[in-house]
Amino acid sequence: MPNPVVRFDGVRFAYGETDILRDVSLSVVPGQVVAIMGGSGSGKTTLLRLIGGQLRANAGRVEVDGEDMATLSESALYERRKKLGMLFQFGALFTDLSVFDNVAFPLRERTDLPESMVRDLVLMKLQAVGLRGAAKLMPAELSGGMARRVALARAIALDPRVMLYDEPFTGLDPISLSTIGSLIRELNDALGAASIVVTHDVAESLAIVDYVYFLAEGRVIAEGTPDSVRESAHPFVRQFVGGEKDGPLPFHKPAGPYATDLGLEDGRHD
């Protein structure tokens, strides 16, 4: 087993008083595509931001390529981020730049390559996501799925060692969805990178990933390969994979008796 590129060790993170992550440990090795699943608000996006160094853990270690992100200076952090690529939920393309300039952005900002080289690289990356023909369009002229593919081309522009995906499947039609899914897998294998996919789309992600972590209430409550997850008897995993409404993750937010809230007498409605 090669050394992990991303490793969480007993990570705790809180926004003010509220704990988002309580005690998370996980590791990802190169070549792996790992899914992190959990309901909305379970701290999945926070986890990505910890890897990117945009947030710092309150306790525990977040290691990327063997270095603790919390101890890095700002300039070292920026240096480290060159090895990371991130696909944001809705692409986060720069709306004032064309598709070409969007993909060229990290190359122009972070490297001293001559413009002709930048051009070739951008076209290669766009070709990889099948959108070389859209190079001259503006982001506003793209559909949601296309925008996300352009963002993907931009994220891989610097050949990152770790790819992070924040809800890559949200709001896509079935065709775009499987396109993105297979792109994630293909690009990971082509780059020899490690990918972390944060999602709640079970079917699509189980088809492409090597390993799954389930996150709930700030903890990893279950993990395993896609096959073992499908077979799992864990009630939370069953609920999540089966898409059942009620289970360990209740449909109702905890509240007082319904009848009392409505001002009805106790017991009358039962």
Binding site: E79, P106, E109, R110, R154
Partner: protein
């Protein structure tokens, strides 16, 4: 009773502490902008785009407003001056009030509502659509790449716009005074020139507009950067930019005027 008092003071204090905390953040933000300015200004192309965005696109409203303000000043001033038989001082009245006060102040108010709000909205939307976060993840500092150019674009545009406002206003005053009311153009210009001092009046007006430019640009970029990443958050931040800028401009104008035109 004490409970009521405590609650009264708490309610009074909450917005106050909030405002002071925000002021502290704004100061730190200002320092961050200054720290990243050298790298950002070296790539002047970025600032160029922002000058186009904040300055060039504001020229029309500034020029038209300046022209009308000057024309109104001339009409109103003439009515008053002619009663004292000193209508030839119309040029002085129009030029002094424009160069000292109206050019910098009204120019700045227009600039805040035209360009300041646009800057806030653009940064706020970039934040709401995670463009700033994306930039950070690409190891590009958004303060150096987005905020500092917008700040300097505003700062550099403001004095030029204020000068255009004053110049257009004086031209408007000339149109009304000389072309319409039939004052002698020679005495209109020469009286003006004799009583307007370059250093004391024109340069002080320019200095004022530089201060206003810094204030508006800082408020605009800060409100945008600080806006909650929602549609409502951005729209409220935009409104706040205009309101806060207007108040700061007027307060700052009072302080600067007190410094410049009295006690010298």
């Amino acid at each position: 009773m004490t409970n009521v008092l405590v609650r009264f003071f708490a309610r009074l204090g909450a917005p106050l502490t909030g405002a002071i905390i925000k002021l502290g953040f704004a100061c730190r933000f200002f320092l961050a902008i200054l720290r990243h300015s050298p790298t950002s200004l070296l790539r002047f192309q970025l600032t160029m785009r922002e000058i186009w965005f904040a300055g060039v696109l504001s020229v029309l409203i500034i020029a038209v407003s300046g022209l009308f303000v000057g024309m109104v000043l001339a009409l109103q001033g003439y009515e008053t001056l002619v009663r004292f038989g000193s209508s030839s001082a119309l040029g002085i009245l129009v030029s002094l009030s424009l160069v000292r006060e109206l050019g910098p102040v009204v120019g700045a108010l227009l600039f805040a509502s035209r360009a300041g709000s646009a800057i806030t909205a653009e940064i706020g939307l970039m934040k709401a659509t995670e463009q700033l976060a994306a930039m950070e993840m690409m190891a590009v500092n958004p303060i150096a790449r987005v905020v500092a150019p917008k700040f300097w674009g505003g700062v550099l545009s403001m004095p030029l716009l204020a000068a255009m406002f004053s110049a257009m206003g004086i031209f408007g005053g000339y149109l009304i005074g000389v072309q319409m009311l039939g004052l002698d153009p020679g005495s209109f210009w020469s009286q003006m020139q004799a009583s307007v001092d370059f250093r004391g009046d024109v340069l002080n007006g320019v200095i004022k507009s530089v201060f206003f430019g810094v204030a508006i640009s800082l408020i605009a970029v800060f409100e945008g950067y600080d806006a909650p990443p929602t549609a409502e958050g951005v729209s409220r931040a935009t409104t706040r930019t205009v309101v806060t800028s207007a108040l700061v401009i007027l307060a700052l104008d009072f302080v600067l005027t007190a410094f410049m035109f009295t006690g010298m």
